[in-house]
């Protein structure tokens, strides 16, 4: 534990540093329509001040201050991390990097548990500084819920794996710099032939195409690999040891999606308030019988939201490590978000369903929101897959033939 003297010296040091390094515009809250930088080499629409602030925080190791210095952190103890957070809050500094960061939340824990020292020192600092943006290459057109059926091949030739195949649903691949992929290094064993490979998206032979969804343009992409040469030292873990790593990473992803909860957690209060306004308005337009039914529906929604919040609080407090709990939270929060979207759509009637035209801009956004929500129970593992995991790990039910 640092002494009070040491902490107050550190506080002064941080304060002076912030005074010089944090641009005034980065001490203002985000404007409507503005978002935090996602990091990486390509950051369209990010201001010079935001770039400078990201660079300053990153090079000082302050984005992940508790990470070790050789991993791109600042190697701070928890007392100093708290002081840093207090000083950032005091000047009203924006976070330099958006919260949902695939490199930090999903890949970094895997590199720490399975990467070599060289891999950790090569990749972690770039993640910690926000200078490289990562995306995920898991699903394939023929390997969705049955992820282990993946067919993208990686064949060892000299010092390189030669990769050929087709990945789908890679979020933000068109804005990312690197992709972590599950590839097949052997056909002998379905699960035991899978390896975990890190690939630079600028490598020759890679093409990235965004996917158009029901709701319109999206951040999802298809990524095609044609004889892409990947140095063999970019394989994480042993060849054929990729499946347990993949599952470990998926549980980090579910935790991330569950904590985002389709945007539910944290923002829950504000979101339910706007629903309350809509319901209140609809109540005024209804007769007494319809009002009762509407009140019951709204009451049920509030009860589900309240219990979900209480459950996330309880799980954090209980510090439970049960393998099925991220699946449970993911299942409940995504389904609740979808029910909310359905409820709003029903309350607004045809006003919620505009596609294009002059007058319908808010309505178009609403319809896109509703359409997009249909993916909540599919992405990050379908609800059916989550139910499999809950049955197997939560209830210890025996595995069926097809699982």
């Amino acid at each position: 534990m640092p002494t009070d003297d040491e902490l107050s010296r550190f506080r002064n040091e941080v304060a002076q540093w912030l005074d010089k390094q944090c641009p005034l515009s980065m001490r203002q809250p985000l404007l409507p329509g503005e978002s935090l930088p996602a990091g990486g080499r390509r950051m369209p629409g990010v201001s010079d001040d935001a770039r400078a602030w990201l660079e300053a925080m990153g090079s000082r190791g302050f984005i992940k201050p508790h990470w070790r210095i050789e991993h791109g952190g600042a190697g701070l103890d928890s007392a100093r991390v708290d002081v840093l957070a207090q000083e950032l809050a005091r000047v009203g500094a924006r976070p330099p990097l958006a919260e949902l960061n695939t490199g930090i939340k999903m890949l970094a824990p895997i590199l720490l548990s399975h990467g070599t020292v060289e891999q950790q020192q090569r990749f972690l600092p770039l993640i910690a500084r926000g200078s490289v943006r990562w995306c995920q290459g898991y699903s394939e057109p023929e390997a969705g819920s049955d992820l282990a059926a993946l067919r993208t091949r990686a064949v060892l030739e000299d010092d390189c794996y030669v990769v050929t195949g087709h990945k789908i649903w890679s979020s933000y691949a068109h804005m990312s710099d690197w992709i972590f992929c599950l590839v097949r290094t052997s056909n002998e064993d379905k699960h035991g032939g899978i390896s975990f490979l890190l690939i630079d998206l600028e490598s020759p032979g890679i093409t990235v195409e965004p996917i158009t969804l029901l709701s319109g343009s999206s951040v999802f992409c298809e990524v095609h690999f044609s004889d892409v040469r990947v140095p063999r030292d970019q394989l994480v873990g042993q060849p054929g040891a990729g499946w347990p790593i993949a599952k470990e990473l998926l549980s980090h992803e579910r935790a991330m999606l569950g904590s985002a909860g389709g945007g539910l957690s944290g923002g829950g209060g504000g979101r339910s308030m706007s629903l309350a306004k809509l319901v209140g308005k609809a109540m005024e337009e209804q007769d007494t019988g319809a009002r009762g039914a509407l009140a019951e529906r709204f009451g049920q929604h509030l009860a589900e939201l309240a219990a979900l919040k209480a459950t996330t609080v309880r799980l954090r407090q209980e510090n439970r490590r049960d393998a099925f709990m991220p699946s449970l939270i993911k299942l409940v929060s995504t389904e609740l978000n979808m029910k909310r979207e359905d409820f709003i759509s029903e309350l607004l009637g045809l006003d919620a369903l505009g596609w294009d035209g002059d007058v319908a801009v808010p309505s178009v956004g609403r319809a896109q929101g509703w359409l997009r929500s249909r993916a909540n129970s599919i992405e990050g593992g379908t609800s059916e897959i989550q139910l499999n995991i809950i049955a197997r790990h939560g209830l210890k039910l025996p595995q069926g033939a097809a699982q």
């Binding site: 709204f298 059916e384 049955a391 210890k396 595995q399």
Partner: protein, 388 residues
Amino acid sequence: MSAANLVLSDEETMLRSSARSFLGAQSPVADVRALRDDPGSAGVRAKVWQQMVELEWPAMAIDDADGGVGAGYYPLGVIFEELGRNLVLSPLLTVCQALACLQRTGHQRATAVRAEMLNGRALVVLADQETAHHDPGVIGTRFEETSDGYILSGTKRFVLYGGQADAYVVSARLVGTPPHHADGTALFLVDAADPGVSIERFRLIDSQPRAHLRFTDVALSRSALIADPKSGAEVLAECTEVATALLAAEMLGSLSAALELTVAHLRQRVQFGVPIGSFQALQHRAARMLVAQEMTTSAVRAALRALDEDPGQAAEAVSVAKIWANDAFQQIAREGVQMHGGLGMTDEADIGLYLKRAQVASAQSGDSRFHRRRIATLKLDEESSAGG
């Protein structure tokens, strides 16, 4: 505001395991059948009830200044969960509710009666319900003031342990006050032996003893008044929150046990050469049951914490807990019987006892329809008073 603590402390975990071993030995699920089939039964094992009193369970949430333990409703909820696991028949719920009413009043008689209840010498229960659906707004029982006390008339229905109690806490409205006005509701202590009290004993499908009580011009002394027409409605509302939250905790224990029974059956029962629990159609339904159980656990704990913090502000959390307890218990009990197949329909299998209890407990202290409307109204009122 920091989030309420929803974990069990070491002390509460110990309380849970000692309650579980006591009830496992003294009050197993099979006792529901035994008490049901015993014509002389009072709906409780006298020895078990005496031990509950000695363990100070009725006193758990009563302030220590009033002769209680002062531990609050959160640990009492842990005990109710354990009672629920074994579907224990006892008057503890209605006694805790009556005690919550008596705790709020400083009257000498109330203090004396409370002491008698806490040492197990008197059984006093709440008599407030008048209709087949829980509706605290309906009080048809009337009282008027006389020169030396009160005259009370009316009917109370579905009173738990009404045929066994020595006395009742009865809600009544002052003759001439309009039905939905806040003032005018008072609470009285009425002896079962008072002239004008008639008792009709019966049981519902869950085997808990109940009674319809008729009060015909019952003459009461001044000391029978335990909450006057200014405060009666508030006292009654608070003790109703207490009973609802404790019932939800009890239901959580019941539905958890029913889930365990069902999952054990899914693992054991072999058809088509494999355990039926390996079928995905059943696995997904069973997984949904576990989801409901986890969500109910959180909702119940949040409600008990809210009660301990401020019973006047606990309505929303209590309703959330009761909605989850109702719906999860009904879902798990119904699915449980279905997954037990033909065995589930026999009196021999325990799962059916849970189904019967689910049906009664869900209607008691408000069904989900009632509580959904209540929280919707609370939220919309809050919204419009915030300037909409």
